[in-house]
Symmetry: C2
Subunit: 379 residues, 2 copies
């Protein structure tokens, strides 16, 4: 596997938190970073120009959705995802694993892969590790994911089986991969079970990926369970490679993830909340802009936010858009919510560089201090 | 009536077409101009920043809609429409006349005004000339409209009654108007009847408005009938005041309107078409982006268009957004369609300044040459 176009430099550490730079063929990602999700090659209700203005550096797209529609071969013919969606910066695609496992009753898993029914037209398809890599090579993202089995987090025996399958599939993905301009990340699984998570992190580390994802979290477990897994995995992955916590995106989760050595995050939450009239604030509140209490409120959503939305529009105006069912509300709220998370990672990066992340963590009131001393032996 | 803040200068004429500048308290409008419509204080799916980038100088908003929701008094408390919708440039509001007359069975007209049922909650309201001015003063647009009766275009007797009522109401609007930072335009009515149109234009001219609107067109009459009315009205309005053709916005209508002395246009068409997946081209075609023929089409909507959409996205991508029901399609198509009409007016202005509008008209293939010699006496 050639990954010479990908290098990761850590500029500062504080506790387990790191401030780094991940170089990709489409630009440098300053870490920690939050990636907006463009499931169908579009971050819903936001243009690439607006994403850029917000400070976005990395965008995620979903392999499952794009394979079904418009098709990865079409996107390849259109010169790949960057050109197709007009996002010239770094892109990450997931493997399709999480999406097909979410189909619940419409899929069958065996050692070879997963057979599933399309949510669009009910047609039958199969994803294997090789197929997932083929699709992701057609899409052409900078960062691609190994095909994994994402299980429910509690059943130990199911999680062990899924983990072993994920490991075997990771090896097959490495063998299948051909493009040198894509970095393939392995995905650590194991549910909430620390013994499985340690085993998974160590096994994948041995395969020498240029980066590691942590899957199967934020799927129903408690925050304490999530944090224990992150503490443990952190200890068992190579320090000099980027770590990506998949599908996680509340303010508290970002702060606590970064405190545990996570560099990359993605989540549909900020744009999904926006389409449901909810605005995030820096302090972690959620405002429902449909609420009558905002009818005459001349203030911006968050007076300390400098995004386009907060610089130009009142809560009263956004509430009017919501009540009048104007599409602009989704755009303005998406810009704001994404700005909150992206600016949070930018502020935290600066705090780590200036050796004051611990203070930031305490002041935020959202930090659950990581168990720095925990190691595999202590489990 | 004080309108010292409004001046209209004509820099060049070719035939009846004029290139001018209309100065308002919120900036100068270069004419001819096309105004995007922000019915509910939002041009659907487009931000003010995007409107600015497109080259928008004037935005229209609807008195009827804003009176009902969120209410003109609320907008007044929020420092007026410019601040509320964050559009710092010139704004025009209609009088509510056209909107309430569109309610058909839900309104009663008498000499005093119109009683109508809200389309939102069925509540009963009355618009009078005085009420329309009060609402428009609360909204605070730069250009406001006299309250008028917009009738069907053919019945002569009905049109005469409606015209006389419109004239009486125009006088009441002038008396009711208090703000010096708003220019009140009179509205010429009379259906397709040239005798009524001439009478209306002459009557309103006598009242000395700072600008004149032509209402009741593009409501079912033929193009020939519309053009005959425009030729006639043009002859009977003062030359040195701006003329506004209400609710008209196809490429052909703009070209033919400008050829007949029109300076201002507005229409919901470009943004409404966008939400129905249709794109305009410079040559006057309409492309349906849902069409399967665009599936693998790497070209922009219009290769000669330089808008954000055409500079960055293929027909294949926009078709994908349409089929995948991504909101971004409405934004990208609205930006494009508005750009086509706004750039058309900019190009025509330049052609008039350079004395080549006649060539433009012939080359477009859309021009129906105006009857320059027609005058009131010849009817």
């Amino acid at each position: 596997m050639t990954t010479t176009q990908f290098t990761f430099e850590i500029h500062a550490r504080q506790g387990r938190a790191r401030a780094g730079e991940f170089h990709t063929p489409h630009g440098t990602i300053l870490t920690p970073v939050f990636a907006p999700v463009g499931t169908q090659a579009s971050v819903k209700a936001v243009t690439p120009a607006q994403l850029f203005e917000i400070g976005t550096s990395l965008v995620l797209a979903n392999t499952y959705h794009l394979y079904l529609r418009p098709g990865d071969e079409l996107i390849s013919e259109m010169d790949g995802l960057h050109r197709f969606m007009s996002w010239p910066g770094p892109i990450l695609t997931d493997s399709g694993g999480f999406q097909v496992f979410s189909l619940a009753d419409s899929r069958i898993v065996d050692e070879n892969g997963v057979t599933f029914k399309s949510h669009i037209d009910g047609s039958i398809h199969e994803f294997t590790p090789e197929k997932s890599i083929e699709i992701q090579e057609n899409l052409g993202a900078d960062i691609i994911m190994a095909f994994d089995e994402c299980s429910e987090p509690y059943d130990w025996e199911y999680n062990e089986r899924a983990m072993n399958r994920t490991h075997a599939w990771a090896e097959r993905c490495l063998l299948a991969k051909r493009r040198a301009d894509q970095a393939l990340f392995g995905i650590v699984q194991g549910g909430i079970h620390l013994d499985l998570r340690a085993k998974s992190a160590n096994f994948l580390s041995g395969l020498g990926f240029p980066g590691y994802a942590i899957g199967g979290l934020s799927v129903g477990e408690t925050k304490q369970e999530m944090h224990a897994v992150l503490d443990l995995v952190d200890m068992n992955l190579p320090e000099n490679k980027p770590r990506y916590l998949m599908g996680v995106g509340t303010i508290g989760d970002l702060i606590n993830g970064i405190a545990r050595g996570i560099d990359l995050f993605d989540c549909v939450l900020p744009t999904r909340l926006a389409r449901h009239n909810a605005a995030l604030t820096k302090s972690g509140e959620r405002l429902n802009l449909a609420n009558a209490s905002f009818t005459q409120d001349p203030r911006p959503i968050d007076e300390s936010c400098e995004c386009y939305t907060c610089s130009n529009f009142s809560r009263a105006y956004i509430r009017h858009l919501v009540i009048a069912k104007e599409m602009l509300s989704a755009t303005l709220l998406s810009i704001h919510n994404l700005s909150i998370l992206i600016n949070l990672t930018i502020e935290i990066r600066q705090a780590i560089l200036e050796d004051r992340f611990q203070d930031f963590l305490m002041q935020s009131g959202l930090g659950d201090l990581p168990a720095y001393k925990l190691s595999t032996e202590e489990i």
